[in-house]
């Protein structure tokens, strides 16, 4: 039997149901995978082995007494940006050193209620600002497929852990691609829900009008399962919407008959890696073979998306990160007056990318510049949203690459933030439009690095996106490949 830590949630639930293994067994194997590989991968910032084993034993105990939970003692990795009561939550930043969450994020609370347990904190770019995890204040995370490469970001720790068999599934957050891109780079499934689908309460905010929590998993069915548990109106988040949560798993089907899939002409332009383009085109053909009608569509304002994103997201971030001042929690350098304390604390404990974005965001909101940047940015954002609304008049979902390339080499983009920003060109538009997006493995480069297919859906149509992803996944083998670092599992 292959390692328990390598299985999907569905496979584990089946084994647990049949009494083949216990939750304690699962957690034990996940912990031993972490032990064996994380020194090389660097996905975890922090984990509590004893606590996780105790939680697993109590889940086993509850199950033996007849408790029925959807996720009976299933361990789920948590991106360091999400609050889990009693755990650290440093958001990959030194400025939150010493902070302990006094509460559960709503998404975490709902998973906990469903029986899940949380064994550790996964690395990320500081405050979710970055696409490589190299902006973490604490450590580098390596791509399990090739340790010389980045796992993507900002949910790089989450994707790397799932790919490396160090987590059964993980939560990430996506602001401009931070779930989809690392999922693509690490060969996982990553879902960014529609804005307003999953409560943001408890997700430390980067850009409030864009942030969404979503799952990173080994298969589409697991993503559907976790989304179904987390989704829905939350009285603690006013931006969640009262739209019924369908049974996402029931929406999954093996074919795509009757579906119309749009191919945006603006997404297949110069700059896109040849191997990536070939894989995507092959995937599109396969979707056609599965019964979908393929139509060309246009998203004409795509070229402005990255610029608009870096105006709006940084503007919001400049206010969101103002609370990290050393007064109430986290790290502090004393000062001779409050302003001195702020300046010293923030100068010392924020990293360079975070400072860069705070300064940018402060600038675009400044009096005299607001109209030229922020206000104009909002207008263009509306145009981008209309692009998608128009497109979804013509198709049920959109197929596109997740990223123009496979995972970068470590250090390749760090000196050139602008190049790194451009790497998010295919994920940012859907974020700005508030649409949902799924990343599904669709091939490998010659160098053995994964390639992801992005399926973008209309607002609150995660059911369609998951259906397309599932049908595609079921007719391919990409998601079954495992990275070389897992050779110690003995195959599956």
């Amino acid at each position: 039997m292959s390692s328990l830590s390598a299985l999907t949630i569905h496979e584990l639930i089946d084994l647990l149901d049949r009494g083949v293994c216990s939750s304690e067994d699962v957690v034990t194997e996940v912990l031993s995978a972490i032990d064996a590989r994380d020194e090389r991968v660097g996905a975890y910032l922090d984990y509590d082995a004893e606590g996780a084993l105790a939680a697993a034993r109590s889940a086993d105990d509850a199950r033996s007494k007849g408790a029925e939970r959807i996720l009976p003692g299933i361990p789920i990795g948590i991106k360091d940006v999400l609050n889990v009561k009693g755990d650290t939550c440093r958001c990959g930043s030194r400025i939150l050193e010493g902070y302990v969450s006094p509460y559960d994020a709503t998404a975490v609370a709902r998973l906990r209620q469903a029986g899940a347990l949380f064994l550790g904190r996964l690395n990320m770019d500081e405050f979710a600002m970055g696409s490589t995890n190299e902006n973490s204040a604490f450590q580098i995370t390596h791509n399990p497929w090739n340790l010389e490469h980045v796992p993507g970001g900002s949910s790089g720790g989450s994707a790397a852990a799932v790919a490396a068999g160090e987590a059964v599934a993980a939560l990430g957050t996506d602001t401009g691609g931070s779930i989809r891109q690392p999922a693509s780079f690490c060969g996982c499934v990553g879902l960014k829900p529609t804005y307003g689908r999953v409560s943001r309460f408890g997700a430390t905010a980067f850009a409030s009008s864009l942030d969404q929590i979503g799952p990173i998993t080994r298969c589409v069915r697991d993503a559907a399962l976790l989304l179904g548990i987390m989704a829905g109106r939350d009285p603690l988040d006013s931006t969640t919407v009262e739209v019924p949560v369908p049974n996402y798993q029931e929406a999954l089907a093996d074919d795509l008959k009757g579906m119309k899939l749009g191919i945006p002409r603006e997404y297949f332009v110069e700059g896109i890696d040849k191997e990536v383009e070939q894989s995507i085109r092959k995937a599109i053909r396969l979707c056609g073979d599965l019964g979908a009608e393929i139509v060309e569509i246009s998203l004409p304002h795509t070229e402005y998306a990255v610029a608009v994103y870096y105006i709006l997201a940084t503007a919001e971030a400049s206010a969101n990160l103002a609370r990290f001042d050393g007064v109430r929690y986290g790290a502090r350098d004393e000062g001779h007056d409050p302003m001195d304390l702020y300046v010293k604390t923030r100068a010392r404990y924020f990293g360079p990318e975070v400072k860069r974005r705070i300064i940018l965001g402060t600038y675009v909101l400044s009096s005299g510049y607001y109209d030229a940047y922020y206000r104009r940015g909002q207008k263009v954002r509306t145009l981008i949203r209309r692009d998608f609304e128009q497109a979804f008049q013509e198709c049920d979902a959109i197929l596109a690459p997740v990223a123009p390339t496979t995972a970068y080499r470590l250090g390749e983009k760090i000196e050139d933030p602008l190049q790194m920003y451009l790497g998010d060109i295919f994920t940012i538009p859907a974020s700005l439009a508030g649409m949902c997006g799924l990343s599904v493995p669709c091939g490998f480069s010659d160098a053995g690095l994964p390639i992801g297919l992005q399926i973008i859906g209309d607002a609150f149509r995660e059911d369609r996106v998951l259906r397309v992803g599932y049908a595609y996944e079921q007719s391919t083998e990409w998601h079954k490949r495992i990275p070389p670092i897992r050779d110690d599992e003995g195959g599956r």
Binding site: R200, S238, A319, A322, R323, S367
Partner: protein, 483 residues
């Protein structure tokens, strides 16, 4: 009119007030923490009002209703759609280092407040009313400082006046009238000691012949009406003196020093802010329906000014009495209930204006807590009217009712205060008085009419105060004139 040291008549004064009012809600504006005063520091707090990572605001609907009610009472237009914005600045009492406020789409726009200064009526324009959150309170100790966040997240309404206030007296009258309206509407407790109402003042002066406004000085965070008045008297005369001496005013923020009685310039850097307002992404726009607004409008109580006019019209009270009785909504309610029960409008007014308000202020008892019910007061007045008891006895009954409550007729009975009105008993007292004071009798008969009063007094004394003084007087006069 207040006069400063300079030649006030040669200058025109322009004042605008931004008044922050804490709303009377059960809970804070974004979280479930209690909205109350006087708890130990940092006990009414939670991750939301402390600005912990990942927390989000959820709007308290009652704070919206109260703000809209205030707007309706001040004659504002209510925006059916209004939005929140973030106002950024760093300060230790601000948990998020931005304040959630309303910038370009506030709940209420345009309105008026009637004021009266030295008998002259004037209407001051209200520019806007918006809803925002209060901040914490910095506490400075000898060696260190701390912040109490109990107040952080208290719903706060900012009422911005048009710059139509033209003297310190008008500013005082504006705040007094505003407080009256807010108390009437149950919008705020308006407790100045607890910081429920705090004002920022904008003030400028200019020579009368000049069209454009003078340079504006801001005085921040005034928490008493008297402080507003005193600081303006000082500031107006200061500015006039500067201009008289050929100097000029530079735009700045000043701080009122209540001990020395002067305004002092603050370091300009302290308030050189660029607030970088932008729409609050964590909150949806507040959307109100016409029906909702009209429903609230239907619950507006009669305003103090209207009630005063009606008291004059309906109950025949003097302007002054009507003003006193309508100043406090609870007193006015009490008056109306007693007046309706009694029918003797003037008598009820007299009792409240004199005995009642006096006893209340002596015991520092609000009218909601006095033991004498409006019905009992009406009953007491009725007993006097029917001459069951005389004035001095009525005062005794009132005192008992005020302290213990109860039914006036029962108290008259228990205390044996019924007036002696039967002629037989009165004749006995009169006989006794005449016999005991022959000198007074002859004084009266020789034309000293004052002697009659003395004899009535003797009858009252002999009857232990229970004789009907009017009857005693008439019977005495008849005896002396004829006998």
């Amino acid at each position: 009119m207040t006069r400063g040291a300079g030649d006030l008549m040669d200058y025109r004064v322009t004042i605008g007030l931004e008044t922050h009012v804490q709303l009377k809600t059960q809970t804070k504006i974004w979280c479930g923490c209690r909205n109350r005063f006087g708890q130990p520091p940092n006990t009414d707090v939670c991750p939301v009002c402390l600005g912990y990572p990942g927390t989000l605001p959820v709007l308290n609907r009652e704070s919206v209703r109260l703000t809209v009610m205030a707007g309706l009472m001040l004659g504002c237009r209510i925006n059916e759609r209004s939005t929140f914005d973030r106002k950024s600045y760093f300060y230790p009492d601000m948990p998020k280092n931005y304040q959630i406020s309303q910038y370009d789409e506030p709940l209420c726009l345009g309105g008026r407040l009637e004021i009266e200064v030295n008998g002259r009526k004037k209407s001051i324009g209200i520019t806007r009313i918006h809803l925002e959150e209060d901040v914490g309170k910095s506490i400075h100790y000898e060696q260190s400082s701390g912040v109490d966040f109990n107040r952080a997240g208290t719903p706060l309404m900012e009422i911005v006046s048009e710059p139509e206030i033209e003297s310190a007296d008008e500013a005082f009258a504006y705040l007094t009238a505003l407080k009256q309206v807010l108390l009437y509407g149950g919008i705020s407790d308006c407790n100045l000691e607890e910081g429920n109402i705090r004002s920022d003042i904008n003030c400028s002066v200019r020579p009368v012949e000049r069209e454009e406004l003078g340079t504006k000085i801001e005085i921040k965070n005034m928490n008493t009406f008297r402080g507003v008045h005193r600081s303006l008297v000082y500031e107006i005369s200061r500015q006039i003196n500067v201009l008289n001496d050929g100097g000029s005013i530079s735009q700045e923020t000043r701080r009122w020093n209540d001990e020395t009685g002067v305004t002092e310039a603050m370091r300009t850097k302290e308030y050189a802010h660029d607030y970088r307002y932008f729409p609050e992404p964590d909150l949806m726009p507040v959307v109100l329906t016409r029906e909702q607004i009209e429903g609230w409008r239907a619950t507006i109580p009669e305003l103090p000014g209207d009630r005063r006019a009606r008291f004059v019209r309906e109950y025949g009270l003097s302007e002054y009495d009507a003003g006193v009785l309508s100043a406090d909504r609870n007193v006015a309610d009490y008056y109306e209930e007693a007046a309706r029960a009694s029918g003797h409008f003037k008598a009820v007014s007299n009792w409240i204006m004199t005995d009642m308000l006096h006893a209340m202020s002596e015991g520092a008892i609000p009218i909601q807590e006095v033991k004498i019910t409006p019905g009992a007061l009406a009953g007491l007045i009725d007993l006097v009217d029917r001459q069951v008891i005389n004035r001095p006895s009525a005062k005794r009954v009132f005192t008992i009712l005020f302290e213990k409550g109860g039914n006036p007729a029962d108290i008259v009975e228990q205390e044996g205060l019924s007036q002696v009105r039967d002629t037989e008993s009165l004749e006995t007292y009169i006989d006794e008085a005449i016999t005991a004071h022959p000198q007074s009798v002859s004084d009266y008969r020789s034309g000293k009419k004052a002697a009659l009063k003395f004899l009535v007094g003797q009858v009252m004394r002999l009857s232990k105060g229970k004789a009907d003084p009017q009857m005693a007087l008439e019977m005495l006069r008849e005896r002396l004139d004829t006998g």
